[in-house]
Point group: C2
Chain length 336, copies 2
């Protein structure tokens, strides 16, 4: 990294989100900042707190209703709480509203926030409203988890199984179709417009006490694997294209190659990515819906693919996905 | 209030912040939302959490440095924590940065946030960065306080003394001078640019267990008195103009009438306003710097003034001060 003195005139987009966060961490001298949540110890419990900033133009497709914008804002923060295995204990919202916002739209947004909080068995406990040129929502979610059970990004070990909850690609596919002016099957649309944070799954993973690392994949599976690799000082992953669970409805609208691309590189799915020692995998069976998609290796992130005639080959997985404050990806993206 | 169905096409600026917050509270069906903080019970302790959204254009005078912007953002949230008598346990920041922001400016902002957290004996535990057209900062502060000691806005009783900490008018005066292109004495400038949240004072008020209500006056003394009156189901206040403690340096730059106006109606001072039964006032002497400025009455908010020839007269106090999402006050204001 450049020295802090010499780069004063550099602009933030030249650095990108990851380098900026690293820089902030250095200035604060607080190495505890990591993962997506701040941690506060209260006896044997850990309070996890996360703030996510979302904007009308970059984070919400124009077709989204007020209700869905509210829902997604709550879901994005709750997903970070879920990834640490915590039980949500409250949400706060700071909302910057253009003064010409219709009151009915605001009402819908609040109903969406409230509905998403409800389904995660928590509630809105406070917030702030302010005027702003662009609709801006910062959701802050709080959760509690026992210190013996909390899930961190760090902890993955070589040979652990690599798993994801649910199925992938839905949010990304729905967004692609929207941009082409096409409609998605309703199940797919919901993945984009009303994604369900994996709060229950996160808690079960935490209760199991055998999961070695976890995070959500809101920035996309590939980007998350790189993030998880960095959090674990450079361990690697081998994943199998054919094992990646994808939404069954995707085959109605995309070809197999597009489905794989979407599942790997598009954000928005709020599934959890986790690692677990092979011998412990049985403890999760019947508890949650998940799929083993690969394993932890010494280094490198590779994907094993199969040719149409059945031959296996290996490719390095590219590090594409959503990063804030970098030049925008080719397709405008949204992220949870 | 208009029915929610009929007002869908109304725009939010027609309502203003207070009506909007009331509306949100109704939609959420959570009457616990109040004061400036959300509350989470953890055993006998209460976790108080507050989020404040601040913007470059409306909340920070253009002359403010990155360091001061960071400091003030932290101070605004910590002041809400202080007003409940809580001990800060962490701060999070969600920062929306224009992509052309210079890295050196961001560094300074983070240093300002960190310095303000330090002086309140807490630290930054997490956050989020994102790109945004306008610099936007949402600070979320968390604090802990015993349930027997927590300070609420509600609780003031008739005949209680009404008090404020520190001295008023500094932030407002510095802002006025800035707008006129004049410089303030350094002690006054600091009130605007690096206000110190009254964390220590809040804790002492809470520990005393005799304070009947409290809030901060970041939106101005007059506006805060109206707010405190509403929180207490319409009790009133009588305040005495001559008792309002003002920064001594103000007399170098403003006439007595301007000093009073500024102290009553300008926001930005992060002092605490509180009520206390008369017989308990002695418990605070020597503990914190505070002044009795009036008393709690049955109804109405009035100010007692004195003519130059020594005759006392009474005026209703006007409800002026900063309210978000309403037409801007005559002078562009900033608020903490």
């Amino acid at each position: 990294m450049d020295s802090m003195d010499s780069s004063g005139a550099m602009q933030v987009f030249e650095l990108g989100e990851r380098a900026i966060v690293e820089r902030i961490r250095e200035i604060l001298g607080n190495s505890e900042i990591g993962d997506d949540c701040g941690l506060i110890r209260i006896g044997n419990e850990i309070l996890v707190v996360t703030s996510d900033m979302l904007h009308r133009k970059t984070d919400f497709p124009p077709q989204m209703s007020g209700y869905q914008i509210g829902w997604m804002s709550a879901a994005a923060s709750l997903s970070d709480i879920a990834a640490m295995g915590a039980t949500p204990v409250g949400i706060l919202f700071a909302i910057g509203l253009p003064v010409e916002t219709e009151v009915g739209f605001l009402d819908e947004m609040i109903r969406g926030i409230s509905a998403c909080a409800d389904q995660a068995s928590t509630k809105v406990i406070g917030g702030d409203v302010d005027s702003h040129d662009e609709l801006t929502i910062v959701g802050t979610a709080l959760g509690c988890v026992n210190q013996e059970k909390i899930l961190y990004r760090k902890g993955a070990r070589e040979n652990d199984f690599l798993c994801v909850t649910g199925s992938l690609g839905g949010a990304g596919a729905a967004l692609s179709l929207l941009k082409d002016g096409r409609r998605s099957p309703v199940e797919i649309s919901r993945k984009l417009f009303e994604p369900v944070p994996r709060v229950r799954e996160g808690r079960i993973l935490a209760e199991s006490r055998v999961v070695s690392s976890a995070m959500d994949i809101s920035d996309g599976l590939a980007a998350s694997l790189y993030e998880l690799s960095r959090a674990n000082e450079g361990i690697g992953f081998r994943i199998y294209a054919e094992k990646i669970p994808t939404d069954p409805e995707l085959s109605q609208i995309l070809n197999p190659e597009e489905i794989l691309e979407t599942s790997l590189y598009e954000g928005g799915d709020l599934e959890l990515l986790f690692t677990i020692p092979r011998e412990e995998i049985k403890t999760l069976h019947g508890e949650i819906e998940f799929t083993v998609i690969g394993e932890v290796t010494k280094r490198g992130i590779i994907i094993v693919k199969t040719t149409p005639d059945g031959r296996r080959y290996v490719e390095p997985l590219s590090e594409r996905g959503y990063e804030h404050l970098k030049e925008r990806p080719p397709r405008k993206n949204y992220q949870g």
